[in-house]
Symmetry: C2
Subunit: 271 residues, 2 copies
């Protein structure tokens, strides 16, 4: 495929956060009603050139954390932990795929660990040909945060957010939609602090300034982890790809956003 053909795809990248489709307070606790509702919204919006990336929530995270997968291979017993983490992610992905295909959406999963290797946690090689070919053929590719092999660490965790940024940049995405379980990016964790203020619009410059004050350590992220995920998208925003953060737990917000209708949320643009 020639570069020109590829850039013509301009897909929309839709991220569905793990907290939307799973109950993070449990373990392997799926929110099947939300998966089914989202599958309907995605079917009804009927967007051409869409790529979906979903997170791990209560599937991937607890097991990855238990075995310390993200910091790499250090001891024998992590091997089964890596296998388990990958396996439960394919199970969660399977539930999403089932909901989509059952509704006649021609969705095809892309398994990160089968085609991506990282180096110190960053995507080093990604065999994208099948992803691009799926889009060109009119399929809906669905991928997800996964346990992957790492050239330096042995293995690690590849977040859905890094995947979103990478795919958006490589495929010259039209825009990125980040579906979360709150109404956007706030100056504090809206689940904890009732007076937290939502940013309605941010420029890249404003985002970078916030990074200086919010993003010093992940542990102290006052936004409840949201800011760290959004900071991952900076390379895509720098390329001119706008990011819309919307509440995917609220019915029809994803549908409306896919259709180009405005819903409350946070819009981040280069300028």
């Amino acid at each position: 495929m020639r570069e020109q053909e590829l850039s013509e795809l301009n897909p929309i990248i839709l991220k569905i956060g793990g907290s939307v489709i799973t109950d993070k307070s449990g373990e392997l606790a799926v929110r099947m009603q939300d998966i089914n509702r989202l599958a309907e919204e995605i079917r009804d919006a009927n967007v051409k050139n869409l790529v979906i990336v979903h997170g791990g929530g209560s599937f991937g995270h607890p097991i990855a954390q238990k075995y310390g997968i993200s910091s790499g291979f250090k001891q024998e017993n992590q091997r089964i932990g890596f296998a388990e983490t990958h396996h439960v992610m394919t199970v969660l992905n399977g539930l999403f795929m089932d909901a989509l295909i059952w509704r006649e959406v021609p969705a095809v999963s892309i398994t990160p660990s089968s085609c991506i290797m990282t180096k110190h946690g960053r995507i080093q090689c990604f065999e994208e040909t099948p992803l691009r070919a799926l889009l060109k053929m009119g399929f809906l590719p669905v991928t997800f945060g996964d346990a992957v092999l790492d050239l330096e660490l042995g293995f690690t965790i590849l977040s859905g957010d890094q995947l979103v940024s990478h795919i958006a940049t490589r495929l010259n995405a039209k825009h990125i939609i980040i579906g979360v379980d709150v109404d956007g990016l706030y100056d504090a964790d809206p689940k904890v602090k009732k007076t937290a203020k939502r940013f309605k619009h941010l420029t890249l410059e404003e985002l970078k300034k916030l990074k200086g004050s919010f993003g010093k350590t992940t542990a102290c992220d006052v936004t409840g982890g949201m800011f760290g995920k959004i900071a991952e998208l900076i390379p895509a925003i720098e390329k001119g790809i706008p990011v819309k953060i919307v509440n995917a737990s609220k019915p029809n917000y994803i549908y409306k956003t896919l259709k180009g209708e405005r819903v409350e949320g946070t819009l981040i643009e280069k300028e």
Copy 2:
């Protein structure tokens, strides 16, 4: 990774036929008892450098056939058929992975459609780095026949047998074990013809002669389809990789074969 390092892997490639782990007379009919038994045999044999490839049986085949996936993209309604075929194969694979991981086998699935594209049905590009890295890290990679994208046909079916031959050849396998639901390769279908005679040993030359008489058309394959699958392995046999065909439906046959013990079956060698 350098070529020398790679050739040192010399993995055993174990194919588990779809008729062993599913009931081909049904649809989506899994033989869970056999999957669990095989997972135990594989765990107990504890072979280093093993790659498993499994077939589709009553998962992949009926849907692929219904939509004519193997002959490529011809009409719109095949798109959902391709998505379904791939999805049910990941479901069958998930059941196998579950049985292995539950028994503490560090098995990691490799999804063909995420890393392989074919051309006129033959593997054209296969991003093997993750598979090789998994082996080097001490994991058990498990892959399977799948619906894949094809550079000429749009999409097609990649058989587990082609995968076995390709992986064995590329990774310089020690030997190939083909687990089926009969005792080996016969001169007729042993399920139909009681007097069918089993080949105990075949050389490449003898196999090729048989191909002349058996393999003229798939529809007329007197061996009940077995010969066509074995003929797919000729490139690997030509490279000097022996093939053992054994009955994986009989308890301990796979265990014993993995351990290097002799069981009744068919052995095919270059000379």
